[in-house]
Amino acid sequence: MPFIPHTEHYVREMLAAIGAKDVDALFDELPAELRARGLQAIPAALIEQDIARVMHERAARDGQPLCFIGAGAYEHHIPAAVWEIATRGEFYTAYTPYQAEASQGTLQLLYEYQTMMARLMAMDVSNASLYDGASGLAEAVLMAVRANRNAKSKRILMPSTVHPLYRKVVRSIVSNQGIELVELPYCTACGNLVPASLERYNGEDIAALVIPQPNFFGVLEEVDALTDWAHANKALVIGVVNPVAMALLKPPGQWGSPGGAQGADIVCGEGQPLGAPLSSGGPYFGFMCCRKDYVRQMPGRIVGRTVDRDGRTGYTLTLQAREQHIRRSKATSNICTNQGLLVTAATIHMAIVGGTGLQKVAQACHANTRSLVAKLIANQYVEPVFTGAYFHECVLRLRVPLKNLLRPLAAHNLLPGYALEQDYPELGDCLLVCATETKTEADLNLFADHLHKLIERQTTAGCPVKPKM
């Protein structure tokens, strides 16, 4: 019996101790008419070598294409030590550290993680994780509505440059609580939110403004002016940021003009770029930081440092009165299990790569994308769409139909980027491309060569060509 250690001899002894005639007698309180039978739709058991064969074949079938898709999930180098240690049984098979004395490993690691995230974001405090970036943004919206005592409304300004899937997730999660999400248009020339466009909301009752950095198009938002506007209008600022980018860009805690009420109030985002593989979308982790004034409104686990009876330093879950197991229907969130193992990996990842290393990674991502863009737009049928500065993603328009290129590129084992038309109908034949530090010069050239050849085949075959912008 896989994973069940019982011998017949022991089963008999155990039943005798219970006073039951057989195992089935232990289920005598279950109504007989409810008993399940068969489960024949479930295949027969496989031993390990047979399921290994199945999984190896399936993993191989999915191949490992050269991938220039970013759009919220990014390929980065992960030091071998990260997952070697994270999957040690002592981390991998422990649970939420309810018994602090027997969980100091996980608890100290979480305290270190909170410190690292607070420093990376230049914020006061961090929680111990949420599910992912998108659901984290939903939690940030709910938190902002609770935390902003100046706002009576539940209105949130949500730029359309926020990841389209994040906006969908926020709607799914907050829609039952009467929160109004006001979508803000982006500037079609520069690809970001124009601060002056917010003037129409001056003096209105707004709970929070969401600021993505970089935004979904890879473009940098004018975080200082947007933060100033929000604070002047008593709205909280929710930053939703890429953590690797924050090693290079001004961190949310410093947004806003010097001398003003500086900094974002809540910062959240997708932690995947810090040591989690792409793995089809999960498990990743959501991070969340905030000003210390708002810590009691923060959802999720938080670890604090304290002392034991002998005065020795120790770590424990704290501020649990916010949480569902204490506060029940009045809790800040229903979240219980979070993404502990991913945070374990991220902490080890940040410790090994270090601050300077992470900054070099961010620089290399930027430089690689800049180089890729230059190679691609060398072709007259490829042009950049936005003028705004970008981090490691860029929107390119093709003057030939994009759909004719995707399949042949996939046949070359190359995924060229994310097609934007499905989310932004005005961006037909536009591709969001990303080249992280993992891409070599040869990778970039391969992409450019394939693309240019395919475009040439299209144009010589007389396919319709759009005029230059």
Binding site: P5, M14, G38, A41, I42, A44, I51, Q104, R327, Q363
Partner: protein, 484 residues
């Protein structure tokens, strides 16, 4: 010592980042960070040694018996991890085309099918990231169902008082008010109170069966009828599915929507607090509202089912496919159990729990519901010891750590005073259960002879009992370097 205290300026694991800095002059200076983030500056060995040593300060299933009630801490087969982390699975981008994901999607599709069969539900969506998100999806579907029928007067969710805290918290997140239903002396839902509570305002009830009291709710069919007759729906919290896997199916009990905790019943790791996975299953009438994405099949090709195909869906709960890698681990586990192995999970989990309960009772401990069968878990109440000897459930829990046993769940459910909720799981051998009983007996002796040993426990852990009050009052959530 913290990793930050080992940091020295200029030290780095230089093999782990690009060799050179790159010029970023095309980014406006006002957008740039003025200095590198202040992360630890340590060598690779220092980091490896530090985190390896930290891991050794944890109890875990791989190192200790971990009978944490309601959490199903059973063996997490290593094959599930190794095979889910094959490079082809790890490298796949979530927005890559379905044509480059057929192997992955085949696993998800087959997992959906297996979960349907073992729960008796009509359809399954795998996307919720954990139990609480599965609960959210379930209650949001109940709401969407009523709203779609213009039945908008239903504003209340019923929750038994023994329920997990996530249940009432979820109902609130979905915009409902919560009405608690009391438990009767035998540990079942108080049917008279339930009858009095239901009405045209009832959206549904959230139930765990077996309940958090470690007993099977025998009158589940009556409860289903009462709630359904009032126009409400039944939500099944799958936290305790391990107790009944392959024996009875929530769909057959009359539940309209369920969530499953794959990190419990399907043996994916708990990871020090996640990731979990909380798939939801529904009866036919809730199928249109399932969260997306799901995996469908078109001819012999696996396809994504999104908002386009399910316009009434409650939507997405995470950016991509939930905790995809956890789903792969659960798939591998389910294939290794097969149809002939599913019911054994419930049988041996139940055998272990009833054996442990019998042995503890024989050793002089009071069980909370002595006239009932234990399911996969049971409750010991130390009310007598607290009153007569002054030793609390917390003291027993902390002393157990000294004997190398992780403590059971303490002070939950709140209905039973000084309680330990004990769940041994099916993967523990009799010898380990006997060892636990011996430790409990010895602690009981100590409670009588030297109670201070319990009150001062633990004695063998990296720290002794921590000052939680100070932790909450003098918040220290991030490390600051002491002034030089």
């Amino acid at each position: 010592m913290l990793i930050f205290e080992q940091s020295r300026p200029g030290r780095a694991a230089t093999a782990q980042s690009p060799l050179h800095s790159q010029d970023c002059a095309d980014i406006p200076t006002s957008q740039l960070r003025t200095d590198a983030p202040s992360l630890p500056e340590v060598s690779e060995l220092q980091a490896v040694r530090h985190y390896t040593r930290l891991s050794q300060k944890n109890f875990s299933i791989d190192t200790n018996f971990y009978p944490l009630g309601s959490c199903t801490m059973k063996y997490n087969p290593r094959a599930c991890n190794t095979l889910a982390m094959l490079p082809g699975f790890l490298a796949r981008h979530p927005l890559g085309p379905a044509s480059a994901g057929q192997g992955f999607m085949a696993c998800l599709y087959e997992l959906q099918e297996m979960l349907k069969e073992v729960t008796g539900m009509q359809a399954v969506s795998l996307t919720p990231a954990a139990g609480a998100q599965g609960e959210f999806a379930g209650v949001a579907m109940i709401r969407a169902y009523h709203v779609a029928r213009n039945d908008t007067a239903r504003t209340e969710i019923l929750v038994p008082d023994a329920a997990h805290g996530t249940n009432p918290a979820t109902a609130t997140m979905c915009g409902y008010t919560v009405h608690e239903i009391p438990t009767d002396k035998q540990g079942d839902v108080d049917l008279d109170a339930l009858k009095a509570a239901v009405g045209p305002h009832t959206a549904g009830i959230m139930l765990t069966n077996p309940s958090t009291l470690g007993i099977f709710e025998r009158r589940i069919k009556d409860i289903a009828k009462i709630v359904h007759d009032a126009g409400g729906l039944l939500y099944y919290d799958g936290a305790n599915l391990n107790a009944i896997l392959g024996k009875v199916r929530p769909g057959d009990m009359g539940f309209d929507v369920i969530h499953m905790n794959l990190h419990k019943t399907f043996s994916t790791p708990h990871g020090g607090g996640g990731p979990g996975a909380g798939p939801v299953g529904v009866s036919a009438r809730l199928e249109p509202f399932l969260p997306v994405p799901m995996v469908g099949i078109d001819g012999d090709e696996y396809v994504w089912i999104t908002e386009k195909e399910k316009p009434q869906s409650i939507g997405r709960l995470s950016a991509f496919m939930g905790n995809a890698g956890v789903l792969l681990r659960a798939y591998i586990y389910a294939r290794m159990l097969g149809h002939e192995g599913m019911h054994r999970v419930a049988e041996y989990a139940t055998l272990n729990a009833n054996y442990l309960m019998a042995k503890l009772r024989d050793a002089g401990f009071d069980v909370a519901f002595p006239n009932r069968r234990a399911t996969h878990e049971f409750i010991v109440t130390l009310k007598k010891q607290e009153k007569e000897l002054g030793t609390s459930a917390m003291d027993f829990a902390k002393r157990l750590l000294d004997f190398g046993y992780h403590a059971p769940t303490t002070y939950f459910p709140m209905l039973v005073p000084e309680c330990l909720l004990i769940e041994p799981s099916e993967t523990e051998a009799k010898e380990d259960l006997d060892g636990f009983v011996a430790a409990m007996v010895r602690i009981l002796d100590e409670a009588r002879s030297t109670p201070e040993v319990l009150k001062e426990a633990p004695h063998t852990q990296p720290v002794r009992r921590l000052d939680d009050v100070r932790a909450a009052r003098e918040l220290d959530l991030t490390w600051k370097a002491p002034a030089a």
